[in-house]
Symmetry: C2
Subunit: 518 residues, 2 copies
């Protein structure tokens, strides 16, 4: 379900399109490409200290023509997928097939270094790309990414291959790392979620999914025969984890708000009282931004008779894990409660050029995990081995500049702006929902794909959402609502479409303003 | 075994060290920090269009003091791990504990914006850090990372939050992505490994481990009851995959070169003739840079009676996957052979500021995989969900500049320089080994941790290695060997240590130059 939200376009099979102007022209035939290049290569090699080479080295071990033949493509078009001259529908279910507009990598001509043509071509591709990024960044509303950041002070570090190989707390022999920043960031989050420095373990991940994969894995290692419980509206990575790890998984119903339905949770728990429970608690669901009631989940477990040594709770705080601590009424995410791990994304509320996240768990669990990995002579407790050393620098930079108080201010602004958006939508007769602790405004899906793409809205079934991040201003929201109102007038009042969709099944009768429910 | 190589320092437990000058001073007490900040925050909020807010919004839903109490630390020292005032050995096995030297994130003072002190402090930390990175990059030899790159042309893109959410071939509604570059890079690799555009699927990963996790997962989905076979010298991520995915795993012996021992493989296969086989083939092992003989592996499978529909081969080409195609004598990695997937790292031979990799597999396998994921309404075929959109740009840039011929030239240079290094070591009486198809020179482990750290050598047991990457010049190798010779004179000739270690068990008698074998 949630998956279709992330890739929620009409399912079309691939239809061939002509190459766009952005794509490279096809490379010249190999015969031309080769002209002179071997000679040049040999000349270059003479610049090496050849006299020092051992005699048993055979230079013929290097093959002569390194350029592989171009893969057979009988259509003759760049990126076209056809077989025997007939269009063969690509078997992947596609929105827009990127092959039709990709920037092909082409083999340099032998004289490219001299003419500078290649540099010029690449610079022009990059300049056009930068322009499109500016345009797309300006109109983005649908995904929970804070696009407002300035890391100019860090651009000097892009020249280094920074890799936090392995455990954040164990310095690798590879010296070009940023662990001293990573651990500073981890300490900050451990403090936010109330776990002592000597009791936590964690690391900076590549994205929210890696945090979830890690949290569920730790849960499974603690309880190898545990059942995974997760609400239907959990992020798809939770169910991916269940499948990857070969775990039994019970999907729990949700309330109309998107929160986990603890009555149904109770019933499902009763079915498996003999097995330990591993529970995913959503601190902000993907679609509706609903926050599961952590305290009620724990109470439900206790009522059914699960003692604290028979369950493991992972909190998926991908988006709101960093917002909830600053909202008074929110169920507090705290390691003073019987939870096992919390993950949050770094590219969402904080903002970062590339995806990243933070995973914090109890040191005791990691010790258990690493004891279990007997055949490994050292600790391998992260999912990935090599780890992006730039992400910790971005996070460290923003956390240091903003501090807890800066984030509080931004949370407040986002909640206010989300209320503003919901108010403007309903005033205009557009059904919408905003959960109390959320900055995710859910509303009827626009009837036009072009509009959806322009504003980069994420859609599922009859609903779409805007996630109000710190970079979303009132002005931008006004622009969006005004355009939506204009477009709706065209969609629904020129007779092409009868009326706005009913969204009562998704958002409840009270939030639907269709002809039946208004 | 391999794990201990990556983290191969003496196992010491944590001993407390005073804060280094690089770490931040502890934050002022909360009372001082709070002075004036609430007032300022309220003043800032008045700049918003408050008149537009809905009346039911309750600003008290934001908590008053967002700064969590500092976690209890009775040692009083930054980062110290002690309990009840007594030193408690941290249970993690540590090289150097990063907590003692980390750059703490501190809460800004209310007047930091005015005084500029925070900016100045952060700039000084970053400047010192940059200097240390320069120094460490200069002396690095041990890990297979090409540190020689110039991505200045791409620094303009660091301002964007580029995310290739989901499948590379299906354009997400999130507009700030780089799929058009990613698919160009994937096409280039598919061509290198001889798979047609309409027959492959792939994506740009976060590192070599993600490629291996993906390859083994695809293998398991194709053969749910398959047995995983991997040589002892395979990368640790292969065994991590087996554990994560709950697969049965047979470890196969290796030859002294580090290659898989196909006689032992044959014997192990015979034990499980009734189950399909999933095989990890190393295109360059981590420690010795040994290249498993892909053709012999396939021949062995066929001899035991495994037809092509009963095995799946994943080629872990983390390092040499991009080098072997340019070496004439190497067993060719090609999808014209019955293999299922190939992965390679992008930050190794290509060079990239952050770890990344490429995974290529057959489209038919991904279709099978996605059919299997029935409860998902769309394709979720990558391990990670959000994906770094900058990595494809770095790869695209380098591939376009160098081309297949540029890589061939660099491979040739690395192989020559590796031979040069091995020659210099053995001339100096230092036992060393260099596999024919490899640029990894393995030799006796230096007896001094300071020397090992300076040159960032990776060590295992009695051996260490240098991986000759394109940025490793003859001059740098000369510096290294000259210093090693000098140091050895001190270690072994001043009587502190008797003689160099015997490395015959690791590298064979003929490569050992200890007192027994020289």
């Amino acid at each position: 379900m949630i998956e279709s939200f992330l890739f929620g376009f009409p399912r079309t099979t691939f239809t061939k399109q002509p190459s766009t102007s952005g794509s490279a022209s096809p490379p010249p035939p190999p015969s031309k490409q080769m002209a002179g290049s071997i000679d040049m290569m040999l000349r270059d090699l003479n610049l090496e200290k050849v006299e020092s080479l051992p005699e048993d080295f055979d230079p013929t071990t290097v093959i002569k023509d390194p350029v592989p033949p171009i893969a057979h493509d009988s259509s003759g078009l760049n990126g076209g997928h056809s077989v025997n001259g007939k269009e063969k529908p690509r078997e992947i279910v596609l929105g827009r097939n990127v092959h039709t507009s990709c920037h092909e990598v082409t083999e340099p001509d032998a004289d490219d270094d001299v003419t500078g043509e290649r540099e010029a071509y690449m610079a022009s591709v990059l300049a056009r790309y930068r322009k499109s990024l500016l345009e797309r960044t300006k109109h983005h509303l649908g995904y929970p990414y804070n696009l407002d950041f300035d890391y100019g002070a860090l651009s000097q570090l892009q020249h280094f291959s920074i890799n936090n190989l392995g455990d954040p707390f164990i310095e690798s022999n590879y010296g070009v790392h940023s662990r001293q920043f990573e651990v500073g960031v981890l300490d900050w989050f451990a403090r936010l979620w109330e776990l002592e420095k000597n009791e936590y373990w964690g690391y900076i991940t590549n994205c929210g999914t890696e945090g979830n994969l890690h949290g569920i894995l730790v849960g499974r290692e603690v309880f190898p025969d545990g059942i995974l419980y997760a609400s239907h509206e959990s992020h798809y990575s939770i169910f991916k984890a269940a499948r990857m790890y070969r775990m039994d998984c019970e999907k729990v119903n949700t309330l109309i708000s998107g929160e986990i339905d603890c009555e149904d949770f109770k019933a499902k728990l009763r079915l498996h009282k003999d097995k330990p429970a591993i529970i995913n608690v959503n601190i902000g669901t993907t679609v509706k931004g609903a926050v599961d009631d952590l305290d009620l989940v724990i109470k439900t477990l206790e009522e059914i008779g699960f003692t604290h040594d028979r369950f493991y709770i992972h909190c998926d705080g991908a988006l709101f894990g960093l917002m909830m601590p600053f909202v008074k009424l929110a169920p507090k995410v705290s390691f003073k409660k019987p939870i096992g791990s919390v993950s949050v994304s770094g590219h969402k509320f904080v903002g970062c050029p590339m995806p990243c996240g933070v995973q914090i768990t109890r040191l005791e669990h990691i010790n258990a995990l690493s004891r279990n990995v007997e055949y490994l002579a050292s600790r391998d407790a992260t999912i990935m081995g090599s780890r992006n050393g730039h992400a910790p620098l971005f996070l460290w930079y923003t956390l240091n500049r903003k501090g807890y108080r800066g984030f509080q201010k931004e949370v407040q602004k986002c909640l206010r702006n989300a209320h503003y958006l919901k108010g403007r939508l309903t005033s205009a007769g557009i059904g919408a929902m905003l959960n109390e602790l959320s900055s995710t405004v859910v509303f009827e899906r626009p009837q036009d794909e072009e509009f959806t793409r322009k504003w980069q809205l994420a859609c599922q079934g009859n609903i779409a959402h805007v996630v109000v991040m710190p970079n979303i201003t009132i002005d931008k929201l006004d622009d969006f609502v005004n355009e939506l109102i204009e477009k709706r007038a065209v969609w629904y009042e020129t007779g092409k479409l009868q009326s706005p969709p009913c969204i009562a099944s998704e958002l409840g009768n009270s939030n639907c303003l269709c002809v039946l429910h208004k």
